[in-house]
Each structure stands twice: as structure tokens, then as C-alpha cells.
Amino acid sequence: MILKNPLATIESLSTFARIFADRQMKIVSMSIIKLLAFTLLVVFSTSLSFASGGSSTEKEFNVGEMIMHHIKDAHEWHLWGPEHGGTSIYLPVILMDEGMKVFSSKNLYHGELATAIDHKTHQSVTYYKGSGSAEGYGMFHEKIYKLNNGELSFEDGHVHGNAKVFDFSITKNVLSLFFGAAIILAMMLTVAGYYKKNGAVAPKGLAKFMEPIIVMVRDDIAKANIDKHKYHKYVPYLTTIFFFIWLNNMLGLVPILPGGANLTGNITVTLFLAVCTLLVTVFSANKNYWSHIFATPGVPKLLLPIMIPIEIVGIFTKPFALMIRLFANITAGHIIVLALISIIFINKNAAWGMLSVPMALFISVLELLVAFLQAYLFAMLSSLFIGAAVEEAHH
């Protein structure tokens, strides 16, 4: 997307907003639904917490907390039962703190539930204090810290003064990542095996299903946007990114193990994928691309001091938009499904399922479409950026 004239270049200031708006026309109505649902959810949860007022001894069901807990990463894979003390799969914790330390997250979750007083707000905060091999570590909001004098100290609801350790744990998202990768590998190697065995014949079985999708990525995504002499090189990257996003999106929609983690709705994952696209774009960019950034043809020399920073920002806004789009869409999908299901628990009446289940089902089906659409968009826009970077000058 190299801009050809100064007017268009100025527009690049709003690239982020523009890409967001243009590319998502199709799903804009969906986004509105999500936004409405999210607003509803916030209203519900706040009103509920006011209503409960702490009078009842049983801990009230907090929708907002439950949903936030779900869409974030965790060191356990919660299966059923109450959030603490229910049935969970405890995942290995790997810490880099004066050497590698590996222990089960059970040592954290089943450690001491400690209470500390916030130094600023003077409210009590609870956190997990590790026991056994997790001795000396505390966990607050799934972040692991080193204990100072056997405790964590808080300021304004945040841990203050305790060293954060490098946490390379196999968290819920990492495990989901492994599952996703394993499924993709199993599928694609099966397909590749079919062709290896049968040669260039008409596909059957899984190959018959996968081939049109692979060919679609090759033809409609890569070939359509990248110079026809250069696109071959990028097809493996685009197909990998497409299937990685698509499969993990769908895996996130499966409510039980191995699905249900909010992997592609995690900013870290989308950040990594966007950085990949940025690196591919920057490292395959040719002279023509850089000349449009540092000496945009047809722009007066006097304007260049303004133009160059704008163009440089433009390099980063494109992958940034990719990152935000995927993160927001998938997270929103998870939030809305959970919010709709929560209607039952907010009202404490199974009859609400008559309303909430069909709605959740509808949104889930819609999310299947979104899962594909977001993977397609990510690959498509990556291809578009690469195509612009390798485009030859034509005057």
C-alpha cells in the first residue's frame, strides 16, 4: 500500500482506522452486536455486585470476573466445578530465576491463600503463596512474583516491590498452541502423504477437503496480491499463517479440552504473528518500496520532513492493525458467547436457557464464520503488504 500522492500520504495517518473500517465492513454489524453485548455484560455485572452488597455469605457469581478469567491465560486448565477447588488440570510452571525451576502449578493454586493490605487503598488483597517446590513464589492474577520476606506487597491493586520472574510456563494457551500445532501437522502431513503415495492424481479424502483451501490461499491470497514471478516464495508463509489462525480460532470455540483457550484472542500471539508479517514485509521490500517511503515520487522536497515520519509510522500501523483486529475479534467472540451463557447464572434459573442457548448457538455459528474470515483477512492483508513491498516500479 505505497501511497502515490501527497493527499493519500496524509491519509496514511489514519491508516489504522481506515483499514479497520474498510476491511471490516462485512462484519461491522457483528461487531456492533458484540459491543452491545459487552456493554450489557458490564451493566449486568456492576448492577449485580451492587445488588449483592456482600450480605450473603456465599460468593456471588461475578460474570465480568468469570469472563475476564476465561479470556486470559492461566497456569491451570480449569475443567469444571468452582473456580478454586474445582477440577483442573495443573500445568507445569517453568521459571527462569537463578536457573530453571520446574514445578506443578498445583503447588501455587493449592498453596496458602494469603491476604495482604494494599498500601495505598488499604483494602485487603488475596493472592496465592506457593508451597512445596513453589516455596518462595507468589501468584497474583496469574502472574508469578518472588516473595519478599515471605509476602507480596501491593499498591493501587498492583504488586509493588516484588521482582517478577521470567515465566516460561506451559500455560493453558501454550498447551492449546501445542494442540493446535499438532492437529495442523497431523492433517497436513496426512495430506502430503497422500500426494507422496499417489502422485499427481485427483485428491480423495482429507486431501480433497484441504486442497481447495490451500489452492485458495495460493491463488486468491498470494497470487492475487503479489507479483506473479515472486509469489511462490511467500505461499508457504501465507498458508501456514492462514491455517494456524483458522485452526486455533476454531479450537477456541470448542468448549472442552483440547479447545476453549483464547489463544488467537491473546495479544501476545497476535503480536507475534503481526511482527512476522512486518519482518517478512520489511526484509523482502525492494528499492521501489523504500523510495516511496523516503522520497515519495511527486512530493515536493519541502514536504518530505513531514512525509517521511508519516510513512515510517505507516510501516508499523499496518501490522499493528492486524494484531488488534485478530485479538479484538476473537476475544469479543469469546466474551459474547460467555455473556450469553451467563444469562442463566445471573438469573439463577435454567429456564433462561431457552433464550440464552439459542442465542449462544447462533453466535457460536457466527464465530465459525469469523474464525475463517479473520484467518483469511490476516493472510490476505499480509499478502497485500508483501505484494506492495515487492512491487516493481511502473511509470
Binding site: 515465566d167 502430503a192 485427483a202 486442497e211 508463509y237 501456514t240 494456524f244
Partner: protein, 164 residues
């Protein structure tokens, strides 16, 4: 807030898994799959091309065949014509020859007949002359048997001569 903050551990694992996936898929999946798909596409386009070529060839062959057939037909026609001509000629010739022969025969026959006739005529003439002489002798003898008769005759003859 930590919803929109990247996490180092997850970034590390995502990087490892994605790069491994990219490497393995590129080497062991995309390459063979796309290779097979490309090969098949090429095979199909080649087959189509070949079919098109064969079709054109068939067409050429057909027209060639037609030409050949036409030529053969023309040849047959000309041969038939030649044969007919030859036969006609032969017939004509033999007819002419036969006619000539017949004419010859007829002419010869006519000649022979003429000769025979002439001979017969001369023979007849001789015979008739002989007979006439004989008759005349006999008549003359009768006529001259008496003097009167000789006299009458002489007179008559004289009369004839006179009348002439």
C-alpha cells in the same frame, strides 16, 4: 490491563511453535502438496493441449482422407472412362474391320458373280450362237430344201435389205 499486555513466556512458546510449524510444513507439507497440485495442473493443461492437437490432427487426417477418397474416386472414374473408351474403340475397330472384311468379301463375291455371270453369258452366248447356228442351219436347210423356198428367201432377204 494485562489483557492487552504481551506476555514473555507465551511469546517465547508462540515463536518456537510457529517457527517449527512453518519449517516442518514448508518442508514436508506445502512443498509436496503444492508440487503435486502444480504437477497435476500441468498434466491437465498438457492433456488438454494434447487433446486439442489430436483434434486438429484428426481433422487434418480426415480432410486428407477425404482428399484421398476424392482422388481415388476420380481415378476410378477416369479408369472407367478409359476402359470404356478403349472398349468402344476396340468395338469400333473390330466393327470397322469386320465391315471392311465383309465389304471385301462382298466385293470379291460381286466380282466373282460378275465373272461367273460374264462367263455364263459368254457360254450362253456361245451356246445360243451355236444353237442359233444350228437352228439357222436347220431352218436354212429347211428353207433351202427346195428351190422355191430358196427363191422366196432370197427375195425376202432382198426385201429386208431394201427396206433397210
Amino acid at each position: 490491563m494485562d489483557l492487552i499486555l504481551p506476555d514473555l513466556g507465551l511469546l517465547f512458546w508462540t515463536g518456537i511453535v510457529f517457527c517449527t510449524l512453518l519449517f516442518i510444513l514448508t518442508k514436508f507439507a506445502w512443498k509436496p502438496i503444492l508440487g503435486a497440485v502444480n504437477a497435476r495442473e500441468q498434466k491437465i493443461s498438457e492433456a488438454l493441449e494434447l487433446a486439442e492437437k489430436t483434434k486438429a490432427e484428426m481433422k487434418a487426417l480426415q480432410s486428407e482422407n477425404e482428399n484421398l477418397l476424392k482422388e481415388a474416386r476420380a481415378q476410378r472414374d477416369s479408369m472407367l472412362k478409359d476402359a470404356k473408351n478403349a472398349a468402344d474403340k476396340l468395338i469400333e475397330e473390330s466393327k470397322d474391320k469386320a465391315k471392311l472384311e465383309a465389304d471385301k468379301i462382298v466385293t470379291a463375291a460381286k466380282e466373282a458373280i460378275k465373272n461367273e455371270k460374264l462367263q455364263a453369258m459368254s457360254e450362253l452366248k456361245t451356246h445360243v450362237a451355236g444353237l442359233s447356228l444350228e437352228i439357222a442351219e436347220k431352218i436354212i436347210r429347211g428353207e433351202l430344201s427346195s428351190d422355191e423356198k430358196q427363191k422366196a428367201l432370197a427375195e425376202k432377204m432382198a426385201e429386208d435389205i431394201n427396206m433397210n
